[in-house]
């Protein structure tokens, strides 16, 4: 039934289009019959002749193209108007009248801010006429940052977009959240990534150790290759992506060739970096005082088994382990080269880049990527046929170790812990009294990723206003991880029991897409109409192979499976995914004042059981440019632009496991079968209803632009890996939960051209987001598995805590309130709820141009709560835990004698665990983790070269760039941006780079 309905709709749309446009062709053809005269002339620009300019008669498709010397000739009627146009130049219109020779000079186009074309995926729209919420950053704003992940460059630049890099390891995936968490599942909140029209799986590639949060699937893309990144936020912008648009859409557009002189561009930079933060810990005298006092308090005599740090280790050593193990200078180099050029009809860019970054760890570790790209564009002389082809191939190599314990171990290692090496240069095990931290670094992990992305777009305009277009895309990512566990990483006393071993993890993700579309565009008197209708077919296949091997005779043979004694394969899976859709859009524009945009999509996905595979999504967006109204123009001349807009619609999400809908068994290692999944065939799409209202204002001829939006997104029919108690045999099941998560908030964007004179220009931009996440509805939550995890009326990222009673001045131990006085501590006693989401955040950017100098900086600010040392150190002060025993200096204020009033409990190794772990789950562990960070600052100088068109060096720019220069915060952890308090991650690097950009 539904299928027929959609078909009928489509037919109606198409026939409407047909009926509407038909009279136009007839008129055009009739004009041909009349007499014409020959017009000729030359086209120039400020530098000389301009070849291959398009000349056509206004209101008519017919036209010609000037030759290489700028000459043209065309047949036209005296009442006709000629239009001269060339990419990058302002078109010129000249009415013929009695002229027979028309010479024209074209001027470089200066695009007003509001006239910038914004990519909306299946169509483009001028910023001025946008009905939806799309924000854009361009190459110039992001290209200089010494970063691996393209999306990391967006930090602080966009309202409503949180980009968080939980760990500062090169190649790790940034977490990007557009307008908050919609899904109850933490892995159901990835936005849709589209590169040049081709969707890329946005889930991080699984990693381990320091890369445990996953690797960035976009890391092989070069920053220099990106032309712009657009983020689609509201229903109007995202509904055309239907089931995949719920969490927003990230559109990456790569550089395209431009007609004109053949150019070579070179960019080189090199930089130095260090961790942007260190953690204060105790010195040896303080540490030993703590440990001695702890054992005294416990009444335990220090022995080799319970206190090697006191009994065996050299108490005169005082090592700064952070300096020793994570203090290396990071060297960054980047080289890129590109050639571009082309004729009027055909253009190209061909380029490549090489990026390398070492690490803060001692040893031969580092990250490097190499990539190459080609883009070709061609169109026929009559502009009817267009073809664009681009392809990118990127290779990255990430060489690190796989143990994730290093950052935390480094902080917590006793300051008097033994030497790393013996006098012979071997790892020192100090008579088996410790685990040498360098042993973790001997367990190497090499990850090589190869990504190919190719896409072609072919279009043909059969007759005026109609265009048939097809996008074809192919992407393949191949990531291979090899982890090496050599004997030399072990204490020699256990060598007889372990062997050289390794494990391997191979992931491939491959996807084909095909998107035939029919586009229609017509402007008739006051009404403009744009429409698209199309189909998407996507066929993906992911494979995953995990294996391990052991028994290698020699360390240098590890990894060569032929040399292994045993090889085990634990995972070898192939997961197909198929997706299809029909989509459409109709945009109406009345006099540039009233705008209406309708979008819709019908989606089908193989992730659902056959009965629930299809669903419909759609949105409506409206805008009124009220500054066009006469009364406003007369009475408020300061207001140069004013727009009110709103949108409402639905999007969805199918980010769930494949084959989740049936009960299944998997093979055990010995060839048996064991239940692996509990399935439910009934679940279907998650639905996200988005509402947005916004106003844009421009003042002083648009020198100041302000954009304020209010949004409310409600995500319901939540698809969750529903937690099950283990008594069911499983810990989760895929199901729709009748719960509603709301994300609402305000976003404010402000740009201003503060000063503009001939040789000085100062621009400021500012953004502010005030998000609010709330679980607004969850019927019968008390009877559900989520009874104790989420609370209606609070944020999904809120945490429930005990109420701290501080340190009992008699016993010296932490206490928390037993609210129900039942003698035990459970969730019912956790009566304090704290929202750990950002309360507000944004960025503040300034750009100065003075003569040939350019300076810009970006400040990022975030207001939020975080966790303190009680959570970070995980171990009670005085205890030597498995990760170490050092502590923050704040613990020195500990309780010592009955009657002491303090908020640090007594040092204790044996009796401290329970009170400590409870206090770590209390409000005493909450701190203000707000921060202000000078994210980037760059200074560049353009060499004053003579502007001659045939000069060898056209442009030369020298730049100096700083990243993460300063952070102001009360949070004493690694990085306030990661407010979990975890010490297991790395803070971002503070990097300075110096470079040069040349155009030849």
């Amino acid at each position: 039934m539904k299928k027929n309905h959609v078909k009928a709709c489509l037919l109606t749309i198409l026939y409407t289009l047909l009926g509407y446009s038909a009279p136009n062709f007839i008129q055009t053809k009739q004009q041909l019959a009349q007499n014409k005269i020959l017009i000729s002339g030359t086209v120039t620009d400020e530098l000389g002749v301009l070849p291959e300019v398009t000349i056509f008669i206004k209101g008519n498709l017919e036209g010609t193209v000037a030759d290489f010397d700028g000459h043209y000739s065309i047949d036209a009627l005296p009442q006709d108007t000629l239009v001269f146009s060339y990419v990058g130049y302002t078109p010129v219109e000249i009415r013929i009248g009695s002229q027979k020779v028309i010479d024209v000079q074209l001027l470089h186009e200066v695009t007003a801010l509001l006239e910038v074309e914004v990519n909306a995926g299946y169509y483009t729209v001028k910023e001025r006429e946008q009905t939806g919420n799309i924000t854009k950053v361009t190459a110039a704003e992001i290209a200089l940052q010494p970063l691996v992940s393209p999306l990391e460059t967006l930090q602080g630049r966009m309202a409503g977009v949180v980009v968080n890099k939980p760990t500062g390891v090169a190649g790790s995936a940034p977490v990007i959240q557009i307008r908050g968490q919609n899904s109850l599942r933490s892995d159901g909140n990835y936005p849709l990534y589209i590169i040049d029209g081709v969707p890329i799986n946005s889930a991080p590639i699984s990693g381990s150790g320091l890369l445990a949060l996953g690797m960035d699937p976009l890391s092989t893309l070069g920053l220099s290759q990106i032309e712009s990144i657009e983020i689609l936020k509201d229903a109007d912008a995202t509904a055309i992506y239907g089931s995949r648009g719920a969490n927003g859409v990230v559109l990456v557009t790569t550089k395209k060739g431009k007609a004109g002189k053949t150019k070579m561009e070179v960019q080189l930079y090199t930089g130095l970096g260090q961790l942007s933060n260190t953690i204060d810990v105790l010195h040896t005298d303080q540490y030993i005082e703590m440990r001695t006092e702890a054992l005294q308090n416990d009444g335990v005599v220090p022995s080799l088994s319970n206190a090697p740090d006191l009994v065996a280790w050299d108490s005169s050593r005082d090592v700064n382990w952070q300096e020793e193990l994570m203090g290396e200078t990071v060297y960054t180099t980047n080289t890129q080269l590109s050639f571009s050029g082309g004729s009027r009809q055909t253009s190209f860019v061909l380029g490549g880049a090489f990026y390398k970054e070492t690490t803060v760890f001692p040893g031969d570790f580092g990250y490097q990527k190499t990539n190459g790209f080609i883009n070709l564009g061609h169109h026929s002389k009559d502009q009817k046929f267009h073809l664009n082809f681009s392809t990118t191939y990127g290779v990255d190599a990430n060489d690190l170790f796989y143990g994730g314990e290093i950052p935390q171990t480094t902080v917590m290692l006793a300051p008097n812990a033994p030497e790393l090496y013996t006098s012979e240069g071997d790892l020192n095990w100090e008579d088996s009294t410790w685990t040498n931290p360098l042993s973790h670094m001997r367990r190497k992990q090499n990850i090589d990723s190869y990504t190919l992305m190719a896409n072609a777009s072919i279009s043909y305009s059969f007759f005026k206003g109609f265009q048939l277009k097809t996008n074809l895309g192919f992407t393949r990512l191949n990531s291979e991880t090899l982890r090496i566990d050599p004997l030399s990483a072990y204490n020699p006393t256990v060598w007889q029991y372990v062997t050289n071993s390794s494990s391997r993890d191979v992931t491939t993700r491959q996807s084909y897409t095909l998107e035939p579309q029919l586009l229609f565009s017509q402007k008739r008197e006051k009404l403009g109409l744009d429409a698209v209708v199309g189909i998407t077919l996507q066929d993906s296949e992911n494979t995953h192979l995990v294996g391990s091997s052991d028994g290698y005779a020699e360390e240098n043979l590890i990894g060569n499976l032929a040399m292994a004694e045993n090889v085990y394969v634990s995972v070898d899976e192939k997961i197909p995914y198929k997706y299809q859709a029909v989509f459409g859009r109709i945009g109406l524009n009345w006099e540039g004042k009233y705008l209406l945009n309708l979008t819709g999509r019908r989606d089908g996905s193989s992730r659902f059981a056959p009965k629930n595979r299809f669903a419909n999504f759609g949105a409506v967006g409206v805008a009124w440019i009220f500054s066009e109204a006469k009364f406003l123009k007369q009475h408020l001349p300061l207001v140069s632009f004013g727009k009110l807009r709103g949108s409402y619609g639905t999007t969805g999400s199918d980010q769930i496991a494949d084959y989740g809908y049936y009960n299944s068994y998997e093979a055990t290692i010995d060839g048996g079968l064991y239940p692996s999944q509990l399935g439910s065939p009934t679940y279907s799409w998650e639905v996200n209803k988005k509402l947005e209202l916004a106003m844009s204002l421009g003042f002083f001829k648009d020198r100041i632009l302000v954009n304020a939006s209010w949004y409310r997104n409600r995500s319901s029919n939540q698809l969750v890996g529903y937690y099950l108690p283990a008594i069911t045999g499983f810990t989760s099941i895929q199901a729709n939960q009748n719960a509603t998560v709301e994300n609402r908030g305000w976003e404010l964007e402000f740009t201003s051209q503060n000063i503009k004179t001939n040789d000085f220009e100062w621009r400021t931009s500012f953004n502010l987001s005030l998000p609010k996440n709330e679980l607004i509805d969850f019927p019968n939550i008390a009877q559900s598995s989520y009874a104790n995890t989420y609370q209606v009326g609070t944020s999904l990222n809120s945490t429930r805590l005990y109420e701290s009673l501080g340190v009992n001045s008699e016993t010296g131990f932490y206490e928390v309130k037993d609210v129900n006085e039942d003698g035990s501590f459970s969730i019912d006693d956790k009566i304090i709820t704290k929202d750990m989401n950002r309360q507000y955040y944004g960025g503040f950017q300034n750009t100065f141009d003075w003569g040939n100098f350019h300076f810009d900086f970006l400040l990022e600010y975030v207001k939020q709560l975080g966790r303190n040392h009680l959570v970070s150190f995980e171990t009670a002060p005085g205890r030597l835990g498995i990760i170490g025993g050092n502590q923050s200096p704040v613990v020195l204020e500990r309780w010592q004698n009955p009657g002491d009033i303090t908020d640090v409990q007594q040092f204790s190794s044996y009796n401290s665990y329970t009170p400590y772990s409870r206090i770590a789950q209390s409000d005493l562990s909450i701190i203000d983790s707000s921060y202000l960070r000078l994210k980037t600052a760059s200074l560049s100088y353009q060499l004053p070269l003579r502007k001659v068109s045939d000069a060898f060096i056209q442009q030369c720019r020298i730049f100096f760039h700083g990243q993460n220069l300063w952070t102001g915060t009360k949070d004493k952890g690694w990085n306030p941006a990661n407010n979990s308090g975890s010490l297991a991650t790395l803070p971002p690097l503070r990097t300075f780079t110096l470079g040069v950009q040349l155009t030849l």
């Binding site: 198409l14 062709f25 007839i26 080799l304 088994s305 319970n306 090697p308 008579d431 088996s432 009294t433 059969f462 048939l468 204490n491 006393t493 256990v494 029991y497 189909i535 077919l537 052991d550 004694e565 995972v571 070898d572 899976e573 192939k574 995914y577 198929k578 089908g604 996905s605 193989s606 056959p610 595979r613 299944s664 068994y665 998997e666 055990t668 048996g672 079968l673 239940p675 692996s676 999944q677 509990l678 937690y723 108690p725 283990a726 008594i727 045999g729 499983f730 559900s784 598995s785 989520y786 995890t789 035990s824 459970s826 969730i827 205890r879 498995i882 190794s909 009796n911 665990y913 772990s917």
Partner: protein, 462 residues
């Protein structure tokens, strides 16, 4: 002209239409290459056998309560009693040793969930067998019996470690997710029913040449243990005898280093390890100081070594020692292979004849047959190289209790459950451990379980 344009349009419409119509089929995908739909398992005799096999393999798995690794009953109950000590580097294990187990303890959760995971698998297989037509009837009965024994085996530990626990006999997760705690008497009754039914189903002989698949004797042995714990002495003695008397199959090994071998005649039920060594051997045998070891974070409490007489062969044969410069650490050396890449020579022994002698001795003592009790006790003493016991009266019971501690140390949490069963935990552990409280005799229901099932209430004291 007009017609031509219209024809072109119709052509596009044709393409679009065709694609839309063809679509519904498009999103169908092939079945997965790495899993099998549950319904298909019991449509095939081979797959059914593999599914039964899978349960046994899962029992021996590293994360299983029966796996002999860190989260196994053997280790965690051994720590909670007076057998094992945990490295200070391992706080999760330390909580068991200190009897200060947090509800969030990960080992406790692994222990709990692995028990219920096996229960689900047995329930699923029992449901599958009920409807199958492809497995022949004798074999189906045998499978059914094996599954009932395994399910009982799981419930035995659940009841004795956690007290009242949800009794789950189906695979319906919607119902099970909200299950409440069942009175442990009812759980024990179900265990008895299952074992009696299993006895009716199971063959006398083992299915293969090893003793890894349950036969009738396994059901007898487990039933004897269940009756011992419920103090039904006559029945306990009866079922223990049913195994002991089958001397063509079962006999005590003369040499102590033969007991845990794959071919041991003393074994009633053992599990084939996943690799060439048992997890017990891999964990217990010390190759580095347990104080700073990730691999071997547990060692024996030195008091245990002290209770053995010097001439007791078990002390010399079943104890290992690791000398570090300052201290000697003892470890259980019942399993001698720590790691090998070769074939397994040792299997993880679940039930062995020695335990049945001890069950019968204790049961007979209580029924008043003290001669038989002493006789069984002395059978084991003789093997250990000790003189025969001549105790009388209540001293016999004390001797049996000590014999259980010595014979069955670091096997399956016997000591912990015995102390609780004899109600001696307060007396023995109260003087032995600093923070002992009576409520410590039950492990806590894991926090995650309480969080995800509003009907589960925590154990007292947690």
């Amino acid at each position: 002209m007009n017609t031509l344009y219209k024809l072109q349009l119709l052509f596009y419409l044709g393409i679009v239409g065709t694609l839309i119509t063809g679509c519904e089929e498009y999103v169908a995908i092939d079945s997965s290459n790495s899993s099998i739909v549950s319904e298909d398992i019991f449509e095939s005799a081979t797959l059914t056998e593999a599914a039964i096999d899978g349960i046994y393999q899962q029992l021996a798995n590293l994360n299983s309560f029966a796996g002999g690794s860190q989260s196994s009953v053997t280790v965690l109950a051994g720590l909670a009693a007076d057998e094992l000590v945990a490295s200070p580097y391992s706080p999760t294990l330390g909580q068991f040793r200190d009897n200060e187990i947090l509800t969030s303890n990960g080992m406790n959760y692994t222990l709990w969930s692995s028990l219920y995971s096996i229960i689900y698998a047995t329930n699923a297989a029992l449901e599958g067998l009920e409807n199958t037509t492809v497995v022949n009837e004798t074999l189906a009965l045998q499978y059914q019996g094996e599954l009932q024994v395994i399910r009982t085996f799981c419930y035995f530990y659940l009841v004795h470690l956690y007290g009242d626990i949800p009794l789950i006999l189906s695979t319906d997760y919607t119902e099970n997710a909200l299950a409440t705690r069942t009175d442990s008497a009812l759980v024990v009754a179900q265990m008895e029913t299952d074992l009696l039914e299993a006895i009716g189903c199971l063959e006398e002989t083992y299915r293969t040449d090893t003793r890894q698949y349950c036969n009738k004797s396994v059901a007898y042995a487990l039933l004897a243990r269940v009756y011992l714990y419920t103090e039904q002495w006559d029945k306990a003695a009866l079922f223990a005898s049913a195994v002991i008397s089958n001397n063509s199959t079962y006999a005590l090994e003369e040499e102590l280093d033969q007991v845990f071998l794959k071919n041991s005649t003393e074994v009633v039920w053992h599990l084939e390890p996943n690799y060439g060594y048992t997890n017990e051997g891999n964990l217990f045998i010390l190759s580095e100081s347990p104080i700073s070891s990730y691999i071997n974070p547990v060692y024996l409490d030195e008091t245990l070594f002290g209770i053995f007489d010097v001439e007791d062969k078990r002390q010399s044969n079943w104890f290992g020692a690791f000398e570090s410069d300052a201290a000697t650490f003892y470890y259980p050396y019942k399993y001698k292979v720590q790691i090998t890449t070769g074939e397994a020579t040792e299997y993880s022994v679940v039930l062995r004849l020695a335990e049945l002698y001890l069950i019968r001795a204790e049961a007979n003592y209580h029924t008043g047959d003290r001669t038989s009790a002493l006789e069984d006790l002395n059978t084991l003493r003789l093997r250990a190289g000790l003189p025969i016991a001549t105790e009388s009266g209540a001293a016999i019971l004390t001797a049996i209790k000590t014999a259980r501690r010595k014979e069955l140390f670091t096997e399956w949490g016997h000591r912990w459950m015995d102390l609780n069963r004899w109600q001696e935990a307060d007396e023995v552990l109260g003087s032995f451990k600093e923070n002992w409280q009576s409520s410590d005799s039950l492990f806590p229901i894991p926090e995650q379980e309480i969080l995800s099932n509003p009907n589960l209430i925590p154990n007292e004291g947690y």
